[in-house]
Structures are given as structure tokens and as C-alpha cells.
Point group: C2
Chain length 374, copies 2
């Protein structure tokens, strides 16, 4: 993970709200960053608003203008992305800007912590504390597709390529083992009897090599090799789950998982599934992490059904801002954000409708900001 020089303490963050509720939750996350308490290492922020998205495409013919990428590369220390709408029918020339940004900025791992906050009143909720690491640059997401007409029948046949490389699998696997060690280190500061995960750190490798023996076979062997070839990871347990049984087990025994590492498409599906375990997609953040850049991104979509109504849950975006800070080296500041959010969730009084509450987006933002300073 990138570390920004401590002297500077000035962070330039690109803000890309894009579509739908992205335009409500990203400004909310920005307000939280601006309200960070003046403790050790507090950076000052310079925000740059950047364009992208389906709405932008409809007006301008491109979903990701070059200038957005350029400014991120040249001027920004990191970025926060909102959400992108999916066209409800086939639209010529449209291509997902988030997939393109991950590729152009080489953000090779999508880090998705899925954590339940058990409120003091309700101990019945299942405890979930899973870190999903999703490979972020290849698999079916390379979008090499083509369509032909079968001459004998006159019917269409379409093909997509799925790419799995040793290079991408290894760096993603390495990220998983590194983060398993990191989580373990953090846990050591909690007294054993209070720790929810008492065992060794564990990495679960997701694949479907019983069908895809060559591509998922390469993924599996390569990620296994990360541990097998480096004593640094001796203390980390390693196991495997076929993607179908992974989803089953995720729902039956979520407490069974610590770090989960998956190829791009499986990771996409698993992380939405895991979100269902913690109350709402509206609380699950992610960070698209590369060696030189980090982009925070809530896992939820643009939610056109509730857009513009000031009722979108800003927590996923706020936590994504925390992940952004964590991954560019501002651990204390990130922790402040996580704790403030947990506080609001634990109190359970100021919640948006997805969590059964009646609060507005802004009220939740305000509650988090209030918690920051206490």
C-alpha cells in the first residue's frame, strides 16, 4: 500500500459521484473527511470534482472522459467513486467507467470488508467480520467479447474471453496474505476473551477448478504458491472453497471466514451476498487498491429508485473514505471514521430506511460527524 509523505499532509482527492445516489453519498463522505478531528497525522484535503457515469455518457458520448483519468493520475493522491447506472437496454458505445478506471489505474485488488455491528440491545444478529479481496483487473472483466452468426442456422453466437494470469493472481494473493497478517496484528490488541476470531488468521481461496481446471487451476495454484513459497505466511491458515459452496457456506456459517480471496466475477457476486448478512448493501465499503493509487467505492449501485430523495445510506461511502485513508497510510484517521460509524450503527437511532430507520442521508452524515468529535 502506498504511503504518502508525512511532511506534506496535504491530500488531493478526486471525487467522482457519477450516477444516482452517488451524487448524494459522495458529498456526505466529503463532509466527514472535512470534519476529521485534529489529531496526529490529520491531513488537509483538496477535493477535485471529476466527471464519469452513464448520465455523463448520455450527454457527452463517453462514460469516462480522458481528463478525469489524467487529473487522477497527475494530481490526486486517491479518489472516491460513487456509483454507476446500468442502461436498461443495450446502448451502443457505452462501457462501464468503473471497470475502465480499475484497469487504467491498475487498481488490482478490490478490498471489501463486510462487518456486522452488533448493537448492545440485540445479540441475536450473526457476527460477521470478513475481508473479501477481489481480483480487479481480469477474469471476464477484460470484456473481450465478440458475436458471430452461425451460418448453418442464421442464429447469433456470442463469445467472451476469461483471462487469469499468474502475474495478477500472485499480486492479488499476496495482498490477501498480507492483509490476513495485518488483521491478526490488530486483533492482538484485543484481550483474547473478547476476540471474536480466536484462531490463526485464515485465507480462503475461492475458485471453480472442478470445471475450469486451467484458468481457475492457475488461480488456485498461484495463490496457494504465495503461502507455500514464503515463510512469512507460515502463521496463516489456507483453505479453499468452490464458488457455489462458498455462497452456501457464507450464509450458513459466516463466522467461518476471515479473509476470502476470489477472481473478479466470483468476488463481485460474493461481496453482494455477504452484504446481505450485515443488514444492507448500504453499509458495505470497498477500496480499489493498486501500488500507486487507491479509489474508495461503496459496494452498492446507483439505486435509481431512491435517487434524489435524500434517503440513500451514506455509510458505505463514508466507510470507503476511511478505507481510502487507511490504504494511503492514515491509519489513525481511518480508525476515527470506522469508530464514528460503528457508534451511529450501535445506537441504532439515526438510520436510513434500508436499515429500518427514518433518517435522511444528511442526518446520518451529521450523526457520524458528531460521533467523530466525541
Amino acid at each position: 500500500t502506498t504511503t504518502v509523505s508525512r511532511q506534506a499532509k496535504k491530500l488531493t482527492i478526486g471525487l467522482i459521484p457519477a450516477d444516482g445516489i452517488g451524487k448524494e453519498v459522495i458529498p456526505g463522505a466529503r463532509q466527514v473527511l472535512e470534519a476529521l478531528p485534529n489529531i496526529e497525522d490529520r491531513p488537509s484535503f483538496n477535493f477535485i470534482n471529476l466527471d464519469a457515469g452513464f448520465e455523463y455518457f448520455q450527454k457527452n458520448g463517453t462514460a469516462l472522459p480522458d481528463v478525469t483519468l489524467e487529473i487522477m493520475k497527475k494530481e490526486c493522491d486517491g479518489a472516491l467513486f460513487g456509483a454507476v447506472s446500468s442502461p436498461s437496454h443495450k446502448v451502443a458505445g457505452y462501457s462501464s467507467p468503473i471497470v475502465a478506471m480499475r484497469k487504467h489505474l491498475d487498481l488490482y485488488a478490490n478490498v471489501r470488508p463486510v462487518v456486522s455491528v452488533t448493537s448492545e440491545k440485540d445479540f441475536s444478529q450473526k457476527h460477521v467480520d470478513i475481508l473479501i479481496i477481489r481480483e480487479n483487473t481480469e477474469c471476464l472483466y477484460i470484456k473481450q467479447e465478440r458475436q458471430i452468426i452461425d451460418e448453418s442456422t442464421g442464429l447469433k453466437v456470442a463469445w467472451a474471453e476469461r483471462k487469469i494470469s499468474e502475474y495478477a493472481s500472485r499480486r492479488c494473493g499476496k495482498m490477501a496474505f498480507e492483509m490476513a497478517l495485518g488483521r491478526d496484528k490488530l486483533r492482538q490488541s484485543i484481550p483474547l476473551e473478547k476476540r471474536l476470531w480466536k484462531g490463526k488468521p485464515k485465507v480462503t481461496i475461492v475458485h471453480k477448478s472442478n470445471v475450469l481446471s486451467i484458468t481457475d487451476g492457475l488461480w488456485r495454484e498461484t495463490v496457494r504458491g504465495v503461502k507455500e513459497n514464503d515463510h512469512k505466511y507460515d502463521s496463516v491458515d489456507m483453505e479453499e472453497q468452490l464458488v457455489d459452496s462458498m455462497v452456501y457456506r457464507l450464509f450458513r456459517e459466516p463466522h467461518y471466514f476471515d479473509v476470502v480471496v476470489a477472481p473478479n466475477m466470483y468476488g463481485d457476486i460474493i461481496s453482494d451476498g455477504a452484504a446481505a448478512l450485515v443488514g444492507s448493501l448500504g453499509v458495505v465499503p470497498s477500496a480499489n487498491v493498486g501500488d500507486n493509487f487507491v479509489m474508495g467505492e461503496p459496494v452498492h449501485g446507483s439505486a435509481p429508485d431512491i435517487a434524489g430523495q435524500n434517503k440513500a445510506n451514506p455509510i458505505a461511502a463514508i466507510r470507503s473514505a476511511g478505507l481510502l485513508l487507511e490504504h494511503i497510510g492514515f491509519h489513525q484517521q481511518a480508525l476515527c471514521i470506522y469508530n464514528a460509524v460503528d457508534d451511529v450503527l450501535r445506537h441504532g437511532e439515526i438510520l436510513t430506511p434500508d436499515l429500518g430507520g427514518k433518517a435522511t442521508t444528511q442526518q446520518v452524515v451529521d450523526a457520524v460527524i458528531k460521533s467523530l468529535s466525541t
Copy 2:
């Protein structure tokens, strides 16, 4: 769906227990078929035991002997398959026999009903009654994979092809709309106030065309076209879900779904996910359905951890035998099986450990047989 001539009433069924608990649950399902009550249309059975599986591969170098396929094609009216083990490491020359059988027998739709049985004592359980139709012949399951070495780095790069054809998508889509009508017809016999699904029948199309605009785009347009081009389906609602949000929604609002139709890999993942909603993979059946052949198959795997201990749940296999009968035209007999199984589940006394009970495989089989005759 194939209809066997009523005069014959003699069914030849291939039994392929294959690996692990397949060897326990398939004989259980056979016993239930043999015990069917002598009502209208009761066929007599002729069973043929057939080989396949990973264990067979280890001894004989092939996971699916030609003779198994030949006998099914030439002599059988249908088949029941158990489960196949996945090698725990890469094994040269091994290829999944179930995937091969689906292909060779052109079993183009995998029909997976996921139904909860609410016991009279426990009304808190979420009601689930979803029919998943999984395309069964293409997508990544065509297994066209290759590996190359990147000359500039010396590292491996692997590729898999994903195929989506108009032909396969259309027949699978048609199956979904037909079955939506069939379910609706069955519901009409239930008084409105007792019906759990009170609306029009509905087909949900799963895809990820926001990323795979060409392959999933073709899938989506083709399945949509099935309804749009045939007034027969005017009474069926149609909607779409992106695969990631499908998994999320499945867990949050399972009652929202009636019939769900999905490309092969998404269908694999979704059906295991749905199984988590109804207590256990051990109760979820499937039928691999083609125009000329049907093969029943429990959705669970070979479960090596509990194999040989007489504690595998035989219900998925028994229900799969019911689906087999239903799809070759013996509706009354199929209904007998479903009702007997529901009875045992509803009483909740004779259950295997996966459902929290202490009964053996054979005790559950016996309980179902006892229920058949009452």
C-alpha cells in the same frame, strides 16, 4: 418435456451413484421409487447400475465410460445421478462426468426447485418457493481453456471461452416461461387466501450485461424475446436482476421470486445460495432436462467428510427422483413423492444431522416410504 407411452408403464432408469454420499442417497431414492403406491399410472421399474465419477477415474482412467452413455441413450427412459468428488489438486486427464453427461445427452436446462416446508410449529421461517432454471450446456462450462507462457515475463496466462448462443438461450428461456405457466396452473387449484404467491407468474432473468454486454446482452435479449414474440406468455411478468444484486436480493427478499432463469455459471452459484435459505443443501433436488432425456441429480456434492457414515440426507435425491418422474410425464407419482417428503419434513422428527436431527439416511428413507402409503 418427454412423455412416455402410457401403455408401456415400464420405465428403465439408469442409476449412477458415482462418488461419496452419492452411493448412499441414490439407493435410498431407488427404494422410494420401488415403494410407490399402486395408484393410477404407476410404472414398473427396471434399474440399471452405471459407472462414473472421480473414484472410477482413479481406477480406470476415465470418469465417464462410453458404455454408461450408450446404455443411457439406448436403454434408459431417464437416469438418477448421485454426486461427483472434486480432486483436491490438479489431475491430468480428469474431467467432470456430470458436465459431460449434460452435454452428450443435450440436457439443456437444469431445473432446480427450492422450496421451504414450514412446519406447523414454526412459522418464523421465511417462506421460499423458487424455481431456478439454469442453462446447462454452455457459458464457461464448454471448458474451452488454454494456457500460454507470456514470453516477455516467462509467466503463465490462462484463457477460457464463455459461449452464449441464441439457440441455447431461447430454448432455456422457453422452458422458464412454460414452467412459470405450469406453476401458475397448479396454484389455481389452491384457494386464493391460502396461496403464498398471489400475483401473476413471474420470470426473473439473471445476467451481468452491464459488464458482458455482448454475451449476457445476447442472453438477455433472447430470453426477453421469448415472451415478447409469443402472446402465450402475456400473462407472465418478466423482470431482470444483475447476478450480484440477485444474490443479495435472494437473501433479503426470497419471497420476491417465482421462476428465475440464469446462464450456467450464475445458475450454479444462485442455486447453492438458494439452498442455504431452506435449511440445507441436502433437501434441494434438480433435474437435467432435455427434449429426449431427463436425469435427476441432487444439488449437493459428494460430501467426502460424511461419506460412508449413513448420515447423508437422502431427501434431495428422493425429490430428484420425483422430478425425474414429473418430467417424463408421471405427475401423480411425482406428487406422491413430494407430499411424502414434505410430510416427513413437516413432522420434523426424523431428520438427518444437516437439519439438526439424529436420524440415519435409511431411517429417513423408511419414513418417506411410510408416508407414501398413508
